[in-house]
Symmetry: D3
Subunit: 316 residues, 6 copies
């Protein structure tokens, strides 16, 4: 690859022009050497426990990403200018079969990892995380997982199904893809099934921070906790859009009231500058439940963009 | 049961009052003797090939059914007055697992069949048909299937999955739940994967009538063909809402342009008076894609109501 | 009034410019001599039996009317060019009180009648008809009513309330505002409460034509029936938007499937050229249930425009 | 009643399955001994002063409540586990007649009170409060009213009608159903008709706290004020969803900008633990104005759930 | 190009997977030899006279085209199988400047023409036709234009602007890009500005067929007229989605009631098999006004697909 | 003018009655002496860089303004009671031509300025500001501009067009309509094209306050900065609705995540009491992207109302 991949120039064509790749980046449908970062879709929603639709999440996030621009004024980085970034299209999925999908995702994502790209995967429901973690762990060993999510996703099963959006973290522990002792689950809120729900995550070894605690901590203390917990480990950041308040992110499968404001979530993300990230995902955007203003998709596109920026200031 | 189950009286409470059972009928959550007809939901959409959301189909159809009234002026029957009709709630499903769902549906529906009720099941995606047919065939042997659908649903598999919305008819033939020689698939239209697509259904033994042919036939000839084909058999009517034109039924998973108008579909249904029906379903209503006027759900509720009327004038 | 009132010139300002009066006509908030035709709103929906929202009907119809142009190619008349037409604003209503509203409407509309204008009133639910008919009958005696509606609106009462959308025709008969022997109710369709429902209208003296019959008659025979029935009488045309199929008019309170297509309704209206109309209304547009394309409001605006055209070719 | 009424088990059937009762509780359509708490609908919106639609509020809140779970992590109570809770269906209403509705509501609600259940009523517009208060006051004498609302609802009349959403508090004072000296109206904000508007409430004897003041007070001081004001009295909590900011609760009849965030409102509610509540309502959810994500209904369902939790920690 | 470009295989990845190119065809952003047909976007809506939004038309049509399949059962052709078809991305546009856009479009489209591809351009408002015709006429001389449109688009100017959606046909005549004597404008309907409106098109030399006449003619007579009129000429087919009825195509800029049903429009298109087409466009899809079911975009995608099929059976 | 213009009386007619002028004020379509303040529309969106639709902004803001009431409890002024306020309809625009529109706007607005009215103009995209400033500067010389906007709008050009939403501030400087040394641009946020973007505004002489800085400053310090910067100058306040967070104002053309909450923006506005304002505008409301609750339009109507209140407490 002679020329780094960059977004189309908004001074030459309006931002709504062209096929909807992420941030109007070139479409590179197969893994290719020289790509520093790649945005990939995982259009799968078989394993969502309430409202489906996240299969259209990648399309919606790509559409909304047309408005992104390269310069990040807070982190002071040119998100696209200093590296080669591509839209890698969608990873393989098997509709109706979460387990087969995990296998396909792991295989396809592995190709990009082997080509040296840092991936940001756009879901899809949260079950896609299992395939991603398999790909990463096969190359790095168990990862430190940073989860921002309204739900801890550590149920045993869902109506008898073992791989589901709400069980994926437990499955990842069982497969030793992540190291709970180095991982933090943050943002959990809302009614629970039982008093023991939060304990279940802690019993698995995770540090668990509720949504109210997270808001109280703020970026400074949160990043300090992350630093302490993960130090030296390869980190994976998984962002479930439902950690955000439904007024800002209505387009999701299992919303909970009184979530993080974007004004809180973005500084939390930016506080992770310096963390050694090997991969990222953004999940559970369900476009049929977004409003005509497509605010959920737009926020999600910005979070993917923040992840691309974090890669540039990552210690990995 | 001393008193037959009837809808709430619209002269005493407005039609938008009360919990949304179908047509404001009593909720009878377990099979019960003395119920002549029962409306049941099958909230499952794991096996839909494009837009999900049919898991909310039963809710939307129940909501829209509040507007129904008892007297059918064309068939000249009192749909609710001359028998006992209940809303039986929803049948059991296993989200994310079409095969396990088929087993649960067959078992739960069997309970109602054994109690002597004629069921009308509201889907859900079309894969629910397999469980329904298992329950009926276990009691009656292979059925004559009357399908009204934009798609023949006889694919071999879908991305490797064998039980899917688009494969269910083939699976039912393989399990000998239906007798293709006595069955008609009508209403197929739109672009096809290959010239052979329509032949595939005929090779399985079905009579296949395309949408254009169906419109040309009209109710008189269609019912004549049905009579000839099914004579003497136990019949099951499966109505996929996508046989209707998307302007009238946008809320569905795989719409095709230029479908039947309700003005065509309702007379076709009514022309089946006298057929020996043992069961019915109405599938693929996907509420997130319906407009604010909820026209799809309203039309679907009317079709369920037509099915209840057909039961009254059935030869079964 | 020196200059006749005309719409704003679309060659000088785009049609979306300006305050939303009907067809961009001048706003004349009080009755004024020299106005030939006046469009008036009746923003009232207390008496709607299912979905409310018709109080915003006048606003929505005015908004959609911006697209109208003056020349009627079928009737070959310049709808605005040959007379003075105004938007008279809204008639007085009393929210929450249908009877008090009828009184206010009758009084306010009477002012316009005394000023010599032919009114077209945009509802609002169908109960507004009572006040309108009082105003007209006070000046002309009992009228011949031409109703196009999915429902005959001749119930005795609605949950104990005597003046409601569904009872207004019976009330008008009781008050001798209309002469049933000279009136036709056309377009009734859908499930009924009882076999006797249609007979109720006939027992009051009306000629009743169902929706299916109306479609079969077509414009030629329908207008012939109207001519025979109404000959010599002062006629009032009341058009309930729910006579139209819900795909074309989802934004209404009590939709019924399989209604008239606009392709059928508009010729029926135009076939009434030559009838002696003294007034018109268009009711039951409920904007919250219209889609983002506002097709219901747009169709309603066209029907009001057809009424203004009918006035020009009226024998009255 | 042998077994306490509990929600359906989400481990056995997905939360979107079954007829939409509140939180998937059993439907108990008539008052029954042994029910500790009952959720009831009041589908009435004749008396709303701007956007109608609250008649569909109970349906929407029931639909959104499917996502609720039993454990309240902040109050540390099992909302459903420690008592018997039912969905009692809808109370009687008389569409188009607010006064007759108040009488029906009082009678029907009285039946549940006599059976010993604590009711949470889901409106409907705010006029339903009058009937509720009549039922409670008939059994307890004048109540202490805690109102959270963007409007004080103490107008004299609305276009001549005396019982309306905006007049209901004044009517309740006149009927001596509430004791203003023990009541607080909190959350009022937005443009007013006149400088004296707020004084009107104070002249009736109420303590009035504006929205800005309420936000400044916070839960600690608010609950202290409530304690001081109501001490010893039987309390009724009425929550008008429009006290919440329109970004979080767009689906309401008379929204005002810059309202409470849910992050503020929920702690305020929880601060009322220990108050002696005899009843609750949640009013003015107008589903046609909610977005596709149904955030208003979801928030409202959570507030009803908070009320059920408050009952468990009530001193009553 | 060794391998012809074909859509992604729906048996290997679900149709909602991947970046949204038209029909999941390969994206070929620059003109390339060996491409038989190319779908191109023209995301421009500066020149729309009522509702804007057509700049998002190409995105919406691409999104909806995911459902297309290759076999055309009526024309009996494999639309994608027998030739190489690509998505060429979007042509250059200059937002806010219709004249500069025409120049850019002509230049960019010319590149594809020179590479030997037959283009189908997706608008964008109708003003884009001028640039297209310039590119074609530069290579073929004046074309025979077949227009299907609710409006004749032959105004002199629009509020002083000479190149607008409603003036583009007149401009094309003035520039001698089309030969009116060999062209037909069909489908015009709705209110007109003046009696002379239709004459204006005829005075320019066009054959003009109103919507009512077109419906009466049917496919047989329409195609006969086309054959007679165009015989021997290079033809261009321009399809304005507003020729379709708003119930089927609400998402457009200037809808008119009572348009063609898709059941009428598709046979009209198919009747043109054998015509010598050199190019096609589909314009005026305005996604913000489409419903959640996206029926307009889906119909538009089907019409583009019909155009690709017509190319295969074209005499050109 | 004998009687001052006031809104219609909400005690006599419900707020949803009547033609939608701003706040139900009288419509005064031509400049008239004695009008103290006038609300005017500028329905133009040719120069918007992403989502169009702002041409319908004036209609939507007028519609939502029906809910406004006269008394401002924070500023303690009767917004309508102490002066004569009118809705002046829409200013002239030339669709498709931003430069011609600027000329028309300047001319039409000048008429109102000469009549002595303080105008509040409702856009329309931000390019309308140029015409407004021309009218004001012709009478007062260069103005102090207070801008609240997510974007600084100082680009050199947009795809070659010099007058666009994103370039208008630079054009105004070049024409010496504003004095950058006395102007503040506040609220800028989101991804930028380049690090130098913010410097560009400062190089033109503006004081630039980013969104984060603005939130940190709060009303007290912001107003102090305004006072210092503008002292003695004639001020113009331009409020781009996209300075507000998209959850509260989704209906706009180029939203950016994490904007001002209304709870922050309204106090900022009110802190400007005492500033010498000669004019105001509110731009970029794009109704097709607003939700069904119309929260953007409602917030915008409130901001216009705040501007009318600011006029009353202005030092001008």
């Amino acid at each position: 690859m002679a020329t780094p991949y960059r977004p189309a120039d908004a001074l030459r064509s309006p931002r709504y022009a062209g096929v909807r790749t992420f941030a109007r980046l070139p479409l590179v449908p197969e893994p290719e050497l020289g790509v520093d970062a790649v945005v990939l879709g995982a259009p799968f929603d078989t394993a969502t426990s309430f409202r489906p639709g996240a299969r259209f999440g990648p399309e919606a996030v790509r559409s909304a990403s047309a408005l992104l621009r390269p310069w990040h004024p807070t982190l002071a980085v040119d998100v696209f200018g200093s590296s080669s970034t591509a839209d890698g299209g969608d990873l393989g999925v098997v509709p109706g079969n979460a387990e087969a999908t995990a296998a396909r995702l792991a295989e396809d994502l592995g190709g990009w990892l082997d080509a040296g790209a840092t991936p940001v995967v756009v879901g899809g429901d949260h079950s896609i995380l299992l395939g991603e973690l398999r790909a990463h762990a096969a190359r790095h060993g168990p990862l430190a997982l940073l989860l921002l999510d309204a739900h801890a996703d550590v149920w045993e099963d869902h109506c008898g199904e073992r791989l589901f959006g709400g069980t994926v973290i437990r499955r990842a522990v069982e497969e030793e893809l992540i190291d709970p002792q180095r991982s933090l689950l943050a943002g959990v809120r809302g009614p629970l099934y039982a008093e023991a729900d939060l304990e279940a995550a802690r019993e698995l070894g995770f540090e668990l921070i509720t949504g109210d605690e997270l808001r109280a901590l703020g970026p400074g203390e949160y990043s300090q906790r992350v630093l302490t917990r993960t130090a030296g480990a390869h980190c994976f950041l998984s962002f479930d859009i439902d950690v955000i308040d439904p007024a800002f992110a209505p387009g999701t499968g299992t919303p909970e009231v009184a979530g993080l404001l974007p004004h809180e979530a973005l500084p939390l993300l930016r506080s992770l500058a310096g963390t050694s990230f090997v991969g990222f995902d953004l999940v559970e955007v369900a476009p049929p439940y977004d409003g005509p203003g497509q605010t959920t998709a737009m926020l999600a596109a910005n979070i993917v963009w923040e992840m691309l920026a974090l890669r540039l200031v990552s210690a990995a």
